[in-house]
């Protein structure tokens, strides 16, 4: 039942938000809804019984699909991430003004509902529903409140990801046809034994959709543009949570269902991921726009996660679990900083900024911490995940690790460049009048920083939360 609430609350409040005309009220409304969702999400951590964590209702009997949602460790972790992210986003954007705020917050909540649904569904067709449902509000958010080139850019984003989803849809159907039980239920699909040829074909159909969503090189080109053009609140959702959809889907729907194909194509995918890591890191070095820089850095991080996932070693997969959460936290932190910077100076160009550390020390410190977590400095949350992922990748193949490891260095280069260009050095005409961040922003960032350190020093809870998921996944590879 709790699982159902996690979807319903943002859905209902989201729809309701459209009818609240007062901007202040709608902001509070959205925040309230997000906080309630967070509370429920926290409550799910407490329960382990299925009555609280699952919900099933007959839905499309002809098609063998039912409305069934449920939470396992990984699901809890990702819904928690989603539930944490939204209040943070709402608080941090409290001072941003959005035209038609009711629509903005309504759509944000709807996208939350979609995301929750993706993480919760235990029915493949339902999963597909939510998969798309998360995309549509994002499209509107980006297109309406985005930057100058928003229309064409988000359009590309939409068609690109939609195409991937459609191909997955064929795969879903094909899988259904092959399923003797004629059911979309997770358990039923897990029970299937597919022949190798079917696995190979289906694997790519599914993987393409997930690869575009994550995104993995070379399917990533929608991403920097979209991140750049979207309103930052949406970018947070996109990069903090939505990319996790791809990874989550790989864990939930790809690897356990097509184990043979996953093993067969592991080198190709890891190769792509690792290439992407280096490639994206290199590109990040020459970016001038903060958002693009973070976007490319995200591609590099996702590349590592994907590589570790397909390596299929227990450590690596565990690392991915940890990192899914942590990357979400970190990148949201980065976006908040960028949002704050942009709101104040109206630019994201690093070449136009500088010397902010003098004027806004709190912002600078918080950014440095988040940025360092992003480059996986030990004792920050980024380290635990990356360490485990590299360990897993190493067990798979040394050379991938060596090449992927270069990204550690490259990440340091672009991150430090960013810190230096934005925060250090002397102020210029633009940044002369800078003021430090407000209390609510400090609060939000502090929460993130506390999470960063808490997860970095004592990652055990999250490891234990996801351990069962890891075990079942790794057993697939054996």
């Amino acid at each position: 039942m709790l699982a159902l609430l996690l979807i319903l609350i943002p859905l209902v409040t989201g729809v309701a938000a459209f009818f609240i005309k007062n901007e202040k009220v709608v902001k509070s409304w959205a925040l309230l809804s997000a906080v309630v969702a967070l509370g429920i999400s926290l409550a799910t951590l407490y329960y382990t019984d299925t009555t609280h964590l699952t919900f099933t209702k007959e839905w499309l009997p002809d098609l063998g699909s039912s409305f069934s949602v449920g939470l396992d460790g990984m699901g809890k972790m990702l819904t928690l991430l989603t539930a944490i992210a939204f209040p943070i986003i709402f608080i941090s954007t409290k001072h941003s003004t959005y035209k038609d705020a009711n629509q903005f917050y309504g759509l944000m909540l709807l996208s939350q509902a979609g995301l929750m649904g993706v993480f919760l569904s235990t029915d493949l067709l339902l999963f597909y529903f939510f998969w798309e449902l998360a995309l549509v509000p994002a499209y509107f958010l980006c297109s309406k409140w985005g930057g100058e080139k928003r229309i064409s850019v988000t359009f590309k984003f939409f068609i690109y990801t939609f195409l991937g989803s459609l191909i997955m849809l064929i795969g879903i159907l094909y899988l259904y046809i092959l399923n003797p039980e004629k059911s979309f239920a997770l358990q039923s699909i897990y029970k299937m034994t597919l022949n190798n040829r079917a696995q190979d074909i289906l694997f790519w159909m599914f993987f393409l959709a997930f690869a575009i969503k994550m995104p993995i090189f070379p399917f990533h080109t929608w991403q920097p543009d979209t991140y750049e053009q979207s309103p930052t609140a949406t970018t947070m959702v996109l990069s903090g949570i939505m990319v996790k959809m791809g990874l989550f889907a790989v864990v939930r729907w790809l690897l356990p269902v097509f184990p043979h194909a996953a093993r067969g194509f592991d080198n190709i995918i890891i190769g792509l991921s690792v290439t992407g890591m280096i490639y994206a890191s290199c590109i990040a070095i020459v970016q001038d726009d903060l958002k693009r820089l973070v976007a490319y850095s995200s591609i590099a991080h996702i590349g590592l996660m994907s590589a570790a996932l397909f390596a299929g070693k227990a450590n690596g997969v565990q690392g991915v679990m940890v990192q899914m959460f942590n990357h979400g936290i970190n990148i949201i932190g980065l976006w908040i900083v960028i949002e704050l910077t942009e709101r104040q100076f109206g630019t994201r160009k690093m070449s136009e900024l500088g010397g902010l550390a003098q004027k806004a020390p709190a912002l600078a410190i918080l950014l440095v911490i988040v940025a360092l977590a992003n480059v996986a400095l030990p004792l920050t949350n980024g380290f635990v995940g990356e360490f485990l992922m590299f360990t897993g990748l190493y067990q798979f193949n040394v050379w991938y690790t060596v090449v992927a490891g270069l990204s550690i260095i490259l990440a340091a280069i672009y991150t430090l460049n960013m810190i230096q260009k934005v925060f250090y050095g002397n102020t210029n005409a633009l940044t002369e009048q800078a003021v430090d961040i407000r209390l609510n922003e400090k609060l939000v960032l502090s929460v993130l920083v506390i999470l960063i350190f808490a997860m970095g020093v004592y990652p055990k809870p999250i490891i234990e939360l996801t351990q069962a998921s890891v075990n079942s996944l790794v057993s697939v590879f054996k």
Partner: protein, 633 residues
């Protein structure tokens, strides 16, 4: 009752508390309070260290399990501390020297505004915390935490004056070069996990003898890559001279006494693996020796007081690696200790000079400071003598132990080593003479303002000077007195396993050893006297020429790196960004869109508006369908 060493976590806890107080309260605390906190936590830490040291000295040692850090089904990496001889010795050095430098800093940094002052102390405390983690860590991952932590603090402190772009660049360079090394370290850790399924020292070392030599060579080489980054060895040494951009006490603490010796600590800690991998040992020795001589050569032509010391540090670190490479682990650790004393002393002395000179660092503008800064002068001189290896100063004993071991391994090592030692003596006394002897070469105004530093600065100088003088006596070689090498005795449990594996006999007889000592001392003395003669009278003020110029430009290594790595990286990045990303992948994606648009434009021309052509097309369609239906299938 549980072991008292269970409480060893107190040692790093104090600086952490100091960091938190100073860091969070930087806008509210007064400078005095910050100083008290900053120094106080170190003092407390030092006191605790002494206490634990005593406990260890009486044969105690313990692996302290604090909590589970990364513990999955397949691997368990606890947060554990290793309290034993090696770490307790390092604790002493770090907290002791650290305290002195903190104390020194209260005066040195007094001009900073209180916010920045607090920030400075927060960073310093954080650094000490990280360094303590590094040496206390009971496994490679905890060590790595400290390892990266000190790199970070180094970065923060080098770039402390963040308004200056050059400083920032130096800080960035330090961090990135460290990261290159860290990658090696990490790969080694991954390898260890794969090989031993553990990263805890005890387990790894216990399992090492069973591992193949190739694996151990690989792991140790990768670890050594990490060490070259942190300890500024060829090829990753160039960040250290640049790191002099930071405040001088920082240079003293981080870039001379503690952080840069992390590599030595790590290898000494991993001595079992290194002993089992002779190839790596050779590599370590050769790299160490090469760095020693290479950096010494460059140091000869440097005119910045801190740069000379920086290259000297690089060079001395090279000696330490030489020691590690030839199996003289105790010697290397011994040299770490003495080096911490005299190099910290020299840096602080240099800081005192810079303080007096109002941030003038070029020795060509100094001279004759002997009278104005008597305490500084005297302590600096003692430091110079110590580093030059003149008995009975500390540097003599430690350096000699390394050189003796090097001779045993290969006499060529010794010859080159001694040549380096000679150069060390030469450039140190060149520095000394140019700075303190002769007459003042700066402006009148500057001369007028020259003054001895306050007590907070001179006391550390004096203490360190005493240590630099007498520090060597903990390791008196057997030649002079049997069993007088108390350090060796103290550290023996750490290296016992290695000793057992090698079981080498001391081939060097005592006469020969004394002969070698004498030779090195005499050569050093010759170099000293030449330097004193040459530079106290007419210091080299003009620009260097010829080979000297190449040396003065640090052999153009930075430029070379830029040409080999920096520029290609930028070019590749730009290529990726502009060509592959924009024209290639994105071009392809957009091309599909454009293709559809183009197809649309063309295809709609079929819709010509002419019924005749419509029907014609339909009939053609009919014919094709019939052909397919009737004949193809």
């Amino acid at each position: 009752m549980s072991n008292i060493l269970e409480y060893i976590w107190l040692v790093p806890l104090f600086p952490l508390i100091g960091f938190l107080i100073n860091g969070l309260g930087r806008n509210y605390l007064s400078k005095t309070f910050v100083s008290i906190i900053g120094c106080g936590v170190l003092l407390a830490s030092f006191a605790a260290s002494v206490y634990f040291f005593m406990s260890v000295k009486s044969g105690n040692s313990e692996v302290v399990h604090l909590f589970d850090f990364i513990s999955t089904n397949s691997i368990n990496i606890p947060f554990e501390f290793q309290a034993d001889a090696l770490s307790s010795l390092f604790l002493l050095i770090i907290t002791g020297v650290g305290f002195l430098i903190h104390l020194y800093s209260t005066a040195y940094m007094h001009e900073e505004s209180s916010t920045h002052f607090a920030r400075y102390f927060a960073y310093l405390n954080l650094f000490v915390f990280s360094m303590l983690l590094l040496v206390l860590g009971g496994n490679y991952v905890i060590m790595f935490i400290g390892w990266e932590g000190v790199g970070l603090c180094s970065y923060l402190l080098i770039g402390y004056w963040f308004k200056n772009t050059d400083y920032n660049n130096a800080a960035k360079k330090a961090f990135i070069m460290n990261r290159i090394g860290d990658l090696g370290f990490l790969l080694a850790v991954f390898w260890m996990i794969q090989q031993f399924n553990s990263v805890s020292f005890g387990e790894v070392f216990a399992k090492s003898p069973q591992a193949s030599v190739a694996v151990l060579t690989g792991i140790t080489l990768l670890l050594f890559v990490g060490a070259t980054g942190k300890s500024a060895q060829i090829p990753l040494y160039t960040w250290l001279p640049d790191a002099m951009a930071g405040p001088t006490p920082v240079s003293a603490l981080i870039h001379a006494a503690t952080m840069v010796t992390a590599g030595i600590y790590m290898i000494a800690r991993s001595n079992v693996m290194y002993t089992l991998a002779p190839t790596t040992q050779t590599v370590v020795a050769v790299v160490g020796l090469a760095t020693a001589i290479f950096a010494a050569t460059i140091a000869i032509k440097q005119n910045d007081i801190k740069k000379v010391l920086a290259y000297s540090t690089v060079s001395q670190l090279g000696y330490m690696f030489l020691g590690l490479g030839v199996g003289a682990y105790t010697g290397a650790v011994f040299h770490v200790m003495t080096h911490a004393f005299f190099k910290a002393l020299l840096f602080l002395g240099a800081g005192s000079v810079i303080h007096a000179m109002h941030h003038e660092q070029d020795i060509r503008n100094m001279g004759g400071l002997r009278k104005k800064l008597p305490i500084t002068h005297l302590t600096f001189l003692l430091g110079c003598i110590a580093i030059a290896g003149i008995p009975p100063f500390s540097g003599f004993f430690s350096k000699d132990e390394i050189l003796a071991a090097a001779y045993e391994a290969n006499p060529v090592y010794w010859i080159i080593g001694v040549a380096g030692a000679m150069m060390t003596a030469f450039y140190m006394f060149r520095l000394y003479a140019t700075t303190f002897l002769g007459s003042f070469r700066g402006t009148q105004e500057k001369e007028h303002h020259l003054h001895e530093s306050p007590a907070a600065m001179t006391i550390p100088l004096i203490v360190l000077a005493i240590l630099a003088v007498v520090g060597g006596f903990v390791g008196i070689p057997k030649v002079f007195a049997e069993n007088a090498h108390s350090l060796e005795h103290f550290l023996s449990p750490i290296f016992a396993q290695s000793e057992e594996l090698v079981k080498k006999e001391h081939a060097l007889d005592h006469t020969k050893e004394i002969g070698l000592m004498a030779a090195s001392v005499i050569l050093a003395l010759i170099a000293i006297s030449y330097a004193l003669n040459r530079f106290s009278k007419k210091p080299e003020l003009k620009e260097a020429e010829g080979f000297g110029k190449i040396l003065a430009n640090k052999l153009y290594v930075d430029e070379m790196y830029d040409a080999i790595i920096g520029k290609p990286l930028k070019a590749i990045s730009a290529f990726f960004n502009n060509v592959i990303e924009k024209a290639g992948i994105d071009g392809f994606v957009n091309g599909i869109g454009d293709g559809v648009q183009y197809a649309s434009r063309q295809l709609r021309l079929l819709q010509s508006g002419q019924v005749g052509s419509y029907i014609l097309l339909m009939v053609i369609g009919i014919i094709i369908l019939f052909i397919i239906q009737l004949f193809v299938q």
